[in-house]
Symmetry: C2
Subunit: 233 residues, 2 copies
């Protein structure tokens, strides 16, 4: 009998934002797998540290985050095969994901490779955009508003077009794209209604109006929340 692969959402950063289900699974799986980006902390692993049983069997994979696509594909092929070995041995494998596994999570790469071969399940997690709205104290969505969720990797023209039709927009995958997107928002007259939330739930958490953000770039774990007007009654 083969094992099962669990994508475990660990939320945006605060270990108290794990769900009861995620905590239970961390105590039940045979193997806990996680990614570390080149030179970066193992953020998801750090979040769950308080809940890992002593002596937990772990697998850590060093992900090539800024590599070309072929390199990344090869990396996920290799990770999938290493997890497959565990699954073939009948083990339950929990794969840690920041935020929610199916919301821009690296788990999607593994689900695409292993979903047809093994039983898989996902424990949803609190997204960074929910945590950002809470930290800013502003609604993400209210009444008949719509929300555009946009990766900062989109080209300028595409971002502008999609920003036009949404009362609220969330721009993720910010990091090095911030200077470009900030100029774009300035041209659109939208800086004044945009907030930036960064490294939420960590000791380095920062939340401010974009106009007051004095840094050129933003940490990897950052997002913009743009709201054209105060939520109507």
């Amino acid at each position: 009998m083969t094992g099962k692969l669990w994508g475990i959402g660990v939320g945006p950063g605060d270990p108290e934002l794990l769900t009861l289900k995620a905590v239970r699974l961390l105590g039940e799986v045979d193997v806990v797998a996680s990614l570390a980006a080149d030179g970066r902390d193992r953020i998801a692993r750090t979040i769950v540290a308080p809940y890992l049983p002593p002596g937990q069997h772990e697998l850590l994979f060093a992900a090539p985050m800024r590599a070309d696509r072929a390199t990344r594909e090869t990396f996920y092929d290799e990770v999938a095969e290493k997890l497959a070995t565990q699954l073939d041995a009948g083990l339950q494998v929990g794969f840690l994901c920041l935020g929610d596994p199916l919301f821009y999570g690296s788990f999607v790469n593994l689900l695409a490779r292993l979903g047809g071969r093994y039983p898989c399940a996902v424990i949803p997690g609190i997204t960074a955009m929910s945590a950002a709205a809470a930290a800013i104290g502003t609604p993400l969505a209210h009444g008949s508003e719509s929300v555009a969720v946009l990766p900062g990797t989109l080209p300028d023209a595409e971002l502008v077009r999609r920003l036009e039709s949404a009362e609220v927009a969330v721009i993720l995958k910010l990091g090095q794209h911030l200077p470009r997107i900030r100029r774009l928002l300035e041209r659109q007259g939208l800086v004044g209604c945009t907030w930036i939330a960064s490294e939420l739930g960590s000791p380095r958490e920062r939340v401010s109006r974009l106009a007051d953000w004095r840094h050129e770039a933003a940490p990897y774990m950052s997002l913009l929340l743009l709201r054209r007007q105060a939520p109507g009654p």
Copy 2:
């Protein structure tokens, strides 16, 4: 000294999808307030039932869900004043919200009325859209995809326009709007790539392709997840 108002996200339905923080707060606040819609179960209250201390002081408000706007505004004015009485007495008040309080949650109505007068904080919750993606087993977003989050209350033309530009769309506030939206998706040739998820985490949970959904309408707690293509690598 006045008390503090907490918007407590209780997730989409499964009591195990509460966060550790929400469970802690439920044990710490002096008063737990929640809404019941006319003739409907107190869904949020039911979810948290396992975690409420015995003898917990509770406030229940019967919300007029389908009333006209003025009636709803008056209702929230009255709820806000009743909570203000508790807060003036120095009590900590936890207001229960399905899903995430700031993501189409009724808490936004109270934050608008009480946010300037009292300390307020939000415990984010798992959204129904994260839970739906997990239940369907399909990514909500991957790579450079964008997501349009749309209320089903939008007029047809507006829905069509916003569906055009998103690789993935989530349509919330479905209920009685399902027949109209289904016809619209049929005209756009999009029924085949749409799933419906209903009453997630409850014993009545249903997840199916929209093409296989044999009911005319959908329960109140339902959403559509539309994905134009399989997530790219």
